[in-house]
Symmetry: C2
Subunit: 382 residues, 2 copies
């Protein structure tokens, strides 16, 4: 994997990430394909809206259909017919958030599957083995992610465990074929000095990029942005930075302004299934009665298939009638919105006009939505 920094505009960065399955222009947003499918969308749809890279969840694919089966079928790219880059998480976050959590020991984390209750032990080595079997372009070491707030002593002990696991994951990764990049994960909770140590020790292990973890786990948004700014400033400039599981469109721009290059979030697809559309003028809740006879597209001026083809009135009807097509059309638009926002962000950075672009976007976006729904913070689409 190669990462080139093309342009800096304040702390915002435009870059280019080259992977075995293609190039990712950054900042980039990754649609979430939890179970090997971005909910309701086909690879053809994803390509049409400009998807560069997908996220898939190690935890889910380990449980079903199983990483060995995916490997037998030629790997995740072939299995899901997505030829572009794929990033996988370590599975840890889902163990903490979805599974019935057992003990966390030096060895790894014991849990019971949310599907059938079967007990498993996820170790740093197994996590790497799963991700290698899936064949993702970018993989992650198992980490521990604490909710906010956590006491200092617990945060320090957790970070120490995460770093020992990271060293084991890196060692396991070295036994692979080297085609996969591995990002380190920076934890450290809400303590700047602990975050500083997290960055230093993760960097000592020399990862191909760095994910900022343990943010958007319950802390207020201003604190989240402060911690992000503090952490990002410590990271090496020549490696990509990935903010896990964030967030709303304003969140993304706020993180870009602090030097983040990669994002994933389930908001575009999950909110689509709840009838919420992201538009340039803010969030539009399609089930509202005022859209019953509204002939306008969901987002005026949007060139996506949904907006080119259908009225708000029709989308509202589909949603009210629980037609499956509603989920697809809304997901398609929302992901297109996120991807187009990132494309415009890249262009603005390259033109040295990111803050103007951001201010203009926020001024219009806030009009009707007050900034939209609060972020959800999971890289999991269930």
């Amino acid at each position: 994997m190669r990462f080139e920094l093309l342009k800096a505009d304040g702390l915002a960065r435009a870059g280019r990430l080259s992977t075995p399955h293609g190039v990712v222009e950054t900042p980039a947003f990754m649609p979430v394909g939890t179970q090997g499918s971005v909910k309701s969308l086909a690879p053809e749809d994803l390509r049409q809206i400009g998807t560069q890279i997908l996220l898939a969840n190690t935890y889910h694919l380990f449980l079903r259909p199983g990483h060995l089966l995916v490997a037998e079928l030629g790997g995740l790219h072939r299995f899901m017919a997505w030829e572009g880059p794929i990033l996988t998480d370590s599975g840890g976050f889902q163990v903490y958030s979805l599974a019935s959590l057992g003990r966390v020991t030096e060895e790894g984390v014991r849990f019971r599957s949310h599907l059938d209750g079967a007990e498993h032990l996820l170790t740093p080595e197994l996590s790497v083995e799963i991700q290698q079997a899936l064949g993702a372009d970018i993989i992650h070491p198992l980490d521990e992610c604490l909710a906010h707030p956590a006491p200092r002593a617990q945060t320090e002990a957790s970070l120490a465990l995460t770093l020992r696991w990271a060293a084991r994951a890196k060692a396991a990764w070295r036994r692979g074929d080297g085609r996969q990049a591995m990002f380190g994960i920076v934890q450290g909770g809400g303590y700047e000095d602990v975050r500083r140590r997290a960055v230093e020790e993760a960097c000592a292990l020399e990862f191909d990029g760095y994910a900022v973890g343990g943010l958007a786990v319950g802390e207020p948004k201003p604190l989240m942005l402060d911690l992000l700014e503090f952490t990002a400033a410590l990271l090496p400039k020549d490696r990509p930075r990935y903010l896990m599981g964030v967030g709303t469109p304003p969140d993304l721009l706020g993180a870009v302004a602090r030097g983040v290059d990669l994002f994933d979030c389930v908001l575009p697809t999950r909110n689509a299934r709840n009838g919420q559309l992201f538009t340039a003028a803010g969030v539009l809740t399609i089930k509202q009665a005022r859209y019953a006879t509204d002939q306008r597209p969901a987002d005026e001026g949007c060139p996506c298939y949904t907006c080119r083809t259908f009225s708000r009135a029709y989308l509202r009807h589909l949603f009210a009638a629980r037609e499956l097509l509603a989920y697809r059309l809304l997901s398609l638009h929302n992901l297109h919105f996120y991807l187009a926002l990132m494309a415009e962000t890249r262009a603005a950075i390259r033109a040295g006009a990111f803050e103007t672009f951001r201010a203009r976007f926020l001024a219009r976006y806030a009009v009707s939505s007050g900034g939209g729904p609060s972020a959800t913070f999971e890289s999991t689409e269930v």
Copy 2:
């Protein structure tokens, strides 16, 4: 509307139906878009698989979003962004099968909505008014449809009512703009002499085509085919014939062999949502364990997007994981299968080789499926 008979091959017919929204080569299969959407598919998908004409349900669109709203938005074609021909039923069948049925009187049929329990009175005039507001290319008069078996006296009385309603519907239709064709519906239950009278009196009203109703309502399949053959032989040769709500692939070929030109059925889409794929070798139930590592496409040699792109193993995974994409990919394939079957049927008829084609299809189709699932007999996709 114009109908040209291009070629007869035995009783099988190849024809061409010209409507204000385009030409339909017959025999043709109509995907069912009950609520103004063929479940899980966009108009773009429908065009790509060769859809010529859709069916939409008057009952559903009357209740939600309402025919007046659809008219205000420019009619059903524009509302659902389908530029091709649309056929609507009268709404009667759904009142009998879905709604909480009230009294059937000379005036019409009282029912309570399956959505909210609201009471409505559907009259022949209202049914035409709804269909005119929707703007379908082909509409139908309100009729009464009896389950099999029904006593002779009841069948005769019901037919008489259906014919009086047909005359009222025709009168209401004459007050329209003449752009819509109206098909008559032939009832008559399981009695050949009553069916004969049904044909004679429907023909006396001079409809643009004739739908054969009251079949596949509980009678054994051989009786269904006998009644169809008897009825079709009485119908005028120069008008299209539509067999409502039928059926499996072998059913379609059996009906083509008896002179039917138009079909609709929910089987391709409903069975897709139940994990059943129609293939040249019969019905494939994707959830079966034997497909877990099967790299072959669902239907070998099929050129549809699903079969070109994904393995049985992946489709099985999507279905097991209840991914929304499963329903779309299976629906797309199944409808493609039905539409391609009709295209091959037309070519065979034009080449004077229909019976050879049919025998060959059935020999292969029966191998693994024993003929597939039993038909369901509703023109409603709920």
